[in-house]
Amino acid sequence: MSINIVVCAKQVVDPETPASAFRIDSDAKRVLPAAGIPPVVNGFDENAVEAALQLKETVGASVTVLSVGSGFVMDVMKKPLSMGADQLVLVDDPLVADLDSFATARALAESVKKLGEFDLVLCGRQASDWDNAMAPLGVAEMLGIPCVTLAQKIEVEDDGGIVVQRALTDGYEVVRATLPALVTVSNELGEPRYPTLRGIMTAGRKRPTVWSASDIGLRASDLAPKLLLEDLFVPVSDRQCELIGGEDDADAGRNLALRLREARLI
């Protein structure tokens, strides 16, 4: 058995960008890319790539990575290929640069349809920019396929069924569905593998398939936002930290306990 997997992966601002380098253009309501910090593939999407590659090893799979956006950094977007994915499809068009969840789902669903046969669509649990956790749900609805979110483990059975462990904060649920299906992947699935040198060389030779919005049959009017961004700003914290010192670290630890007792906190 071999299955066709599409992994949806988004290029995002590096979430490890230090707070001091995190800037917003509040007029444009956009986060400005920090100088010298390249974007990354959304972390949970790397977990999804990892899930796909594990299935490739266990049941056999061809793995296509799909991304919608503009201003792609090719070295960044090729990372899933260097991890072992087979092909990369980019819908690269200013029209699909900043979409809301509804329009993102539409663009992803149309792209999956254009790709043709698929058994499993894998997504990250959420994109670390807007933290929506919604586009995959829309893709499943639009494709009319079963949907399981927050996977920490995915097994494909011989009869075309899948068994997914869905991570909850206190354990997990076991969910069963039949293919084709969409599954979103959480970090509990495990660390994504590092690209190997061979993987990087192979990826270097691969050319992505690039489509425009019109290639997937979408015009600007199809992509109009339903959710409107009114405001974007950086929160301010008004907390003042009282630093507790001492003769040395051990003394500071002792003083901390005494201070907390004084404040009636312990």
């Binding site: 230090p18 707070a19 509804f102 649990r125 904060t169 076991v174 959710l227």
Partner: protein
């Protein structure tokens, strides 16, 4: 199209906590719009929860009963709530960002073509338009966004749990309790929940603890978590962790605090070797007091901390624990 519809969740001992929170929010919106507040309670059988919901702020309770709704089967609850939504035709639908609501809400919106906002922490009515304005943290909490819903269609708002306080139950409130018959069959369930495995840590629940002691990557390995565990026991609290510590396998993910872990609101939150990334703070910033032990004076955690020690936990922690023990005993 008008009114506020709440997706009410039930748990074995009554209304789920989030339902009271949503009803409180619904009432505050209704005070501005004059709308009625309807709550759908979906289960195999709805009993005293209906009156409970009225006492917590509902004007109309719809008892949506079906054998299939006994479990948190997402597909079944979605199908039922879709039928409710089409019949009630609300201006606003409120759901909690729970394991059930986080999926039911957006999928419902995509089905009925409504706009939807996930993980909202403030929700109000724009007096000029009568439409909803919602505030939601984005970029892991590094930024805050305010969103509105285009057009004049239904607005689906998914609310971060533990953000709103339930109202005090008022037994004298009156409300209308009705049956809402749904037609559901097994074929509605395409992704079937077959088992639930709970991994609850012993002792105080992290979410309920008034003191939480958390460790991060700075601990360097699994062993120090035993010291943190005994400190949390000593204080009658619970043990937490950053995602980095959980991902490293030092401690189970059920201890994770943060955006994609648990939301905690203790009186005292003690962090050790945690840098205070926005995604971590997203789960603990409502703590009344935060204590940071971190050797990097520029660590972000000090921006949110009330008390801090800049130092190596290897040396700070033992004397801290010892003094806490002395204070307890003495």
């Amino acid at each position: 199209m008008s009114g506020i519809l709440v997706f009410g969740e039930m748990n074995p001992d009554g209304l789920g906590g989030v339902t009271g929170e949503l009803l409180a929010l619904a009432r505050s919106l209704a005070a501005d719009t004059g709308d009625e507040v309807t709550v759908a309670l979906q289960s195999d059988s709805v009993g005293s929860e209906a009156e409970e919901a009225v006492a917590l702020g509902a004007d109309i309770v719809l008892k949506v009963e079906s054998e299939i709704l006994a479990e948190p089967q997402i597909d079944a609850h979605l199908a039922a709530f879709e039928q409710v939504c089409r019949a009630v035709d609300p201006g606003v639908a409120l759901l909690g960002r729970t394991p059930l609501g986080r999926d039911v809400g957006p999928r419902l919106a995509f089905r009925i073509g409504a706009a939807v906002a996930q993980d909202c922490v403030e929700v109000s009515v724009n007096p000029d338009t009568g439409r909803i304005l919602a505030t939601r943290p984005v970029y892991g909490g590094s930024a805050i966004s305010r969103v509105s819903f285009s057009g004049d269609g239904a607005q689906v708002v998914i609310v971060r749990p533990k953000t709103f306080e339930p109202l005090d139950p008022d037994a004298s409130r009156s409300g209308d309790v009705r049956d809402f018959p749904v037609t559901l069959d097994e074929s509605a369930i395409r992704a079937r929940l077959v088992d639930t495995v709970t991994q609850q840590a012993e002792g105080v629940r992290l979410e309920d603890a008034s003191i939480v002691v958390s460790g991060g990557r700075g601990l360097g390995g699994p062993e120090p978590f035993q010291q943190l565990q005994s400190l949390s026991h000593l204080l009658g609290g619970a043990l937490g962790a950053s995602r980095a510590a959980c991902d490293a396998g030092w401690i189970d993910h059920s201890h994770q605090v943060g955006l994609t872990g648990k939301t905690i609101t203790p009186d005292l939150y003690i962090t050790i070797g945690i840098s205070g990334a926005s995604q971590h703070m997203a789960g603990c910033s409502a703590s009344k007091n935060i204590v940071a032990i971190n050797r990097d004076e520029d660590a972000n955690i000090f921006k949110s901390a009330t008390f801090g020690v800049v130092g190596d936990w290897n040396r700070v922690l033992p004397s801290f624990i010892e003094t806490v023990r002395e204070l307890r005993d003495g």
